[in-house]
């Protein structure tokens, strides 16, 4: 039997709490007015179309529209799970994205730290600018250059290998090499650009902290360890968390262009497989189902990693 006075106290506590909150909202009206604007954008372009996920459970046809198309339950999901290549495709996707996470999260941080230690201003900005360039080169050109450099006939690398008496290596047609080619060409393209966010975070560190440390005789490594890294830690954690939220997303364009019959056993990932299975035939329901599935997995990953970050440190997404 509940103690009535206790309940009353609880209720009045709750009421007080609510009053306090309301008071805050009233006092900081303008904060809510500000956030209203992004919320309106998100409602219009993100939440409003969201009802469309239901086509994953329907046989969507433009003839009947989204609401009018017949319900089919989990048909598209079963079709996907039962397809012969399901396991292979999931495994390929995870392999590439985990590999790329392991490499592409820490490398920009290290590079940014190294940039930060250059004392010569012009050298620093030159090197930075140069490393950003690859980010702007179109994927088609990148893949063309991969072919040019790694081709088995007249490829630059293989020419060198043969010059030193080695045997030509089939970089492009080997399923074993594909993940490396994919990930490292991505690093080449993106690592410089990836430092930008850390550079910005570092530029907020007051310079006199370093000076004080040097006066006390701290070495450069100690400064990095004790001043720079702690200062950019929140940024590191947040970008790492956000990166894990893309675990099922391996980009379509580049994979598709790098794909060939001989590396298909490792290069077929979710996005390319869905394209072949669904979009080519206009089966939007099927691709919606696959999309929903992979987003769920992404979300779970993000949630777990975020929980972990909350547990270990004090930075987290929410």
């Amino acid at each position: 039997m509940p103690n009535t006075t206790e309940v009353k106290v609880e209720q009045s506590d709750k009421r007080k709490e609510r009053a306090k909150r309301w008071h805050y909202v009233k006092r900081h009206k303008s904060l809510y007015l500000m956030i209203l604007i992004p919320i309106i954008f998100v409602i219009i372009w993100n939440y409003w179309p969201m009802y469309g996920v239901i086509i994953a459970f329907k046989d969507y046809s433009p003839a009947y529209g989204i609401w009018g198309s017949p319900w089919v339950g989990f048909k598209h999901f079963t079709r996907f799970f039962q397809s012969y290549f399901f396991g292979n495709v999931i495994w390929n996707t995870l392999r590439i994205s985990i590999y790329s996470l392991i490499v592409s999260v820490p490398l920009p941080i290290i590079l940014a730290l190294m940039f930060n230690e250059i004392r010569v201003k012009w050298l620093k900005s030159t090197i930075q600018t140069i490393t950003y360039i690859p980010n702007f080169i179109s994927v088609v050109i990148i893949v063309g250059m991969i072919n040019f450099f790694f081709g088995s006939q007249n490829g630059v690398i293989n020419n060198l290998v043969e010059m030193f008496g080695g045997k030509s290596i089939d970089f492009l047609g080997s399923s074993g090499i594909f993940p490396h080619m994919y990930v490292w060409s991505g690093i080449w393209q993106g690592v410089g650009w990836g430092t930008l966010i850390y550079t910005a975070a570092m530029s907020g560190i007051p310079q006199d902290q370093y000076e004080a440390a040097y006066l006390e005789g701290a070495s450069r490594f100690q400064c990095i360890k004790n001043i720079t890294i702690p200062a950019i830690m929140p940024t590191i954690v947040i970008s790492a968390i956000l990166a894990t939220g893309g675990i099922m997303a391996v980009g379509f364009d580049k994979t598709f262009l790098m794909q060939n019959a001989s590396n298909l056993s490792t290069s077929e990932v979710l996005s390319t497989y869905t394209y072949k299975m669904g979009l080519v035939n206009g089966e939007y329901s099927f691709s919606a189902a696959v999309g929903l599935f992979s987003n769920l997995i992404n979300f779970i990953f993000l949630w777990v990693v975020n929980k972990f970050a909350q547990h270990v440190g004090d930075t987290s997404l929410w």
């Binding site: 604007i37 309106i40 954008f41 219009i44 046809s61 433009p62 003839a63 009947y64 529209g65 079709r79 397809s83 012969y84 290549f85 063309g144 072919n147 040019f148 790694f150 081709g151 088995s152 006939q153 490829g155 089939d170 492009l172 047609g173 060939n260 019959a261 001989s262 590396n263 298909l264 056993s265 077929e268 072949k276 299975m277 080519v280 035939n281 206009g282 089966e283 939007y284």
Partner: protein
């Protein structure tokens, strides 16, 4: 500093209000009123290489001739956008020259987005009707399982024309220099290619000659020719591309599990091992690099529907073999398609008020006269007759980007195919462009396949069953092909395992459905 902040908020706020207002205020697009003499057509956008449709000479001319006013809407990236377009409230009256698969025709036809035309054709499209009477296979290829026709064909009577027939193209300079003739069978093919890669026919002292060499996506054309040599072309090219053929007992079979396919891959593996097929056959060469290489005289053999694929400069140096025979006197046949090269060249939608008028408008292009008009234009304006042959006028022939694009500045039916139209014979087209037509020494027209099947029309149920199996089998076969040809797998050891995997994916189910469709096709 302050100003831009103010500007920022101002802009953000005003844009939000604008959206909200416009959302309430404006009606959805595309519902403009048109008079009864105007039809609206949607077509692929090629304005990167020719004038907009409404400004094109031919369409202005045809407006005068037909008295019908066309409102064109053109679309770039058709494949990505076609589903979105169907979800619009109001559709154009018809889709012109756009690609819908047979499955889509059946699906949207059954659901009422596309109008059935089989009853209207005899009355309002007499020219097309005449063609369908002369060649019953046209009607068969267009008719769905429940007897409807939802799309008009891109058709032609010349088995060599309209991109229908694949051929082998050999480097003529090399043949002449080595004193060889273009091969006619698989054994000669091997000998000639061996001579190509070992005897330095381009005379530069380097062993840079390639045998079969194309960009890496194009192994298929060679394999089609070899399949024909080993007897898999009994139902024509479209059948092979859909992975079926018909055996001696008139039974439909899956191509990639047949014993003949074993021989095909064994033969290709042999060529590959001897270096007669470029090592880059499966990876690493893009079309543009290949075109550049062709200019350096290193391509011994390629395969395509026309030699112009290798570029205007190099093409004159290549001579065709149309029929590749097998070993031991086994006869090959021409790798050609059904006369229906496209089933969705003209599709009339639910929103068309007057389908009869649309049919009448398009039917002209299925007549001899209309076909000539679509391809050549008008005498004295776009072409002239020289020695009894129609040739484009000089301003077209001397167009800087080539005669084909030159003609495309005036007429429509010269670029990208799939028009609702009766295609001109290939030789006439070559002459029109001011080229010598290709000479065939191996009598392609006397060596047609036993029958030429189209892509079958599936019922919605069949197509949903087939699509997963087909995608997965194709993917598996694609990987297996590389392994067999490059020697990673060997036919004797790995064949059984390969077949058992195909069965796991659903080979038997696939064959069952395809056989049903073949039976249905024969009955029609």
């Amino acid at each position: 500093m302050k100003k831009w902040k103010v500007a920022l908020t101002g802009l953000a706020l005003s844009s939000v209000t604008l959206v909200i207002l416009s959302g309430c205020g404006s009606k959805s697009t595309g519902a403009t009123k048109v008079d009864s003499n105007t039809i609206t057509l949607m077509a692929p956008d090629h304005s990167d290489v020719h004038p907009k449709n409404e400004d094109l000479w031919m369409w202005k001319q045809y407006k005068k001739m037909s008295g019908v006013n066309v409102k064109w809407e053109t679309v770039k990236d058709w494949d990505q956008k076609k589903q979105l377009i169907l979800s619009r409230k109001t559709l154009p009256d018809a889709f012109y020259q756009t690609g819908w698969s047979n499955d889509e025709l059946v699906k949207y036809g059954t659901q009422g987005i596309f109008q059935p035309l089989e009853k209207l054709i005899p009355k309002y499209a007499p020219n097309l009707n005449k063609l369908m009477k002369e060649d019953p296979s046209i009607k068969k290829a267009l008719t769905t399982p429940d007897g409807h026709i939802y799309g008009l064909p891109y058709t032609g009577s010349d088995p060599m024309g309209g991109g229908r027939a694949f051929k082998l193209y050999f480097n003529k300079k090399w043949l002449d220099k080595l004193n060889l003739k273009a091969p006619t069978n698989t054994e000669e093919l091997e000998q000639v290619l061996t001579a190509f890669v070992t005897k330095d026919p381009n005379g530069n002292g380097k062993a840079d000659e390639q045998g079969y060499y194309m960009d890496s996506d194009q192994f298929g054309p060679l394999e089609l020719m070899v399949k024909s040599a080993f007897g898999l072309n009994s139902a024509g090219r479209t059948a092979m591309e859909n992975n079926y053929y018909v055996d001696d007992n008139n039974k439909l079979q899956y191509v990639f599990s047949s014993d003949k396919m074993k021989e095909v891959w064994e033969y290709e593996a042999e060529l590959y091992k001897k270096g007669l097929i470029a090592k880059t056959a499966f990876a690493g060469v893009d079309y543009d690099k290949w075109v550049a290489d062709a200019g350096k005289d290193v391509v011994g053999l390629f395969s395509w529907v026309g030699r112009d694929f290798i570029g205007a400069e190099a093409m004159a140096n290549y001579v065709p073999t149309t029929i590749l025979n097998g070993p031991n006197g086994q006869k090959g046949s021409l790798v050609t398609q059904s006369p229906v090269m496209g089933t969705s060249a003209f599709v009339i939608t639910k929103d068309a008020k007057d389908p009869k008028k649309l049919l009448k408008w398009v039917d002209y292009f299925y007549s001899e006269k209309g076909s000539e008009f679509g391809f050549y234009g008008k005498e004295g304006v776009t072409y002239e007759v020289k020695d009894g042959k129609k040739v484009y006028v000089d301003k077209i022939l001397n167009y800087p980007k080539g005669a084909q694009l030159g003609a495309y500045q005036y007429v429509d039916n010269v670029y990208a195919g799939f028009f609702p139209y009766l295609e001109q014979p290939e030789a006439n087209k070559e002459i029109a462009y001011g080229r010598e037509p290709e000479v065939y020494t191996d009598a392609p027209l006397d060596n047609l396949p036993k029958q030429i099947l189209p892509t079958f029309m599936s019922t919605p149920d069949e197509s949903s069953q087939l699509s997963t199996i087909t995608t997965d089998m194709n993917k598996y076969v694609e990987q297996a092909r590389v392994k067999f040809v490059t020697g990673k797998w060997n036919i004797d050891d790995n064949w059984d395992q390969y077949i058992s995997q195909l069965k796991k994916i659903g080979l038997d189910q696939w064959v069952k459905i395809r056989r049903q469709q073949y039976v249905r096709y024969q009955k029609n």
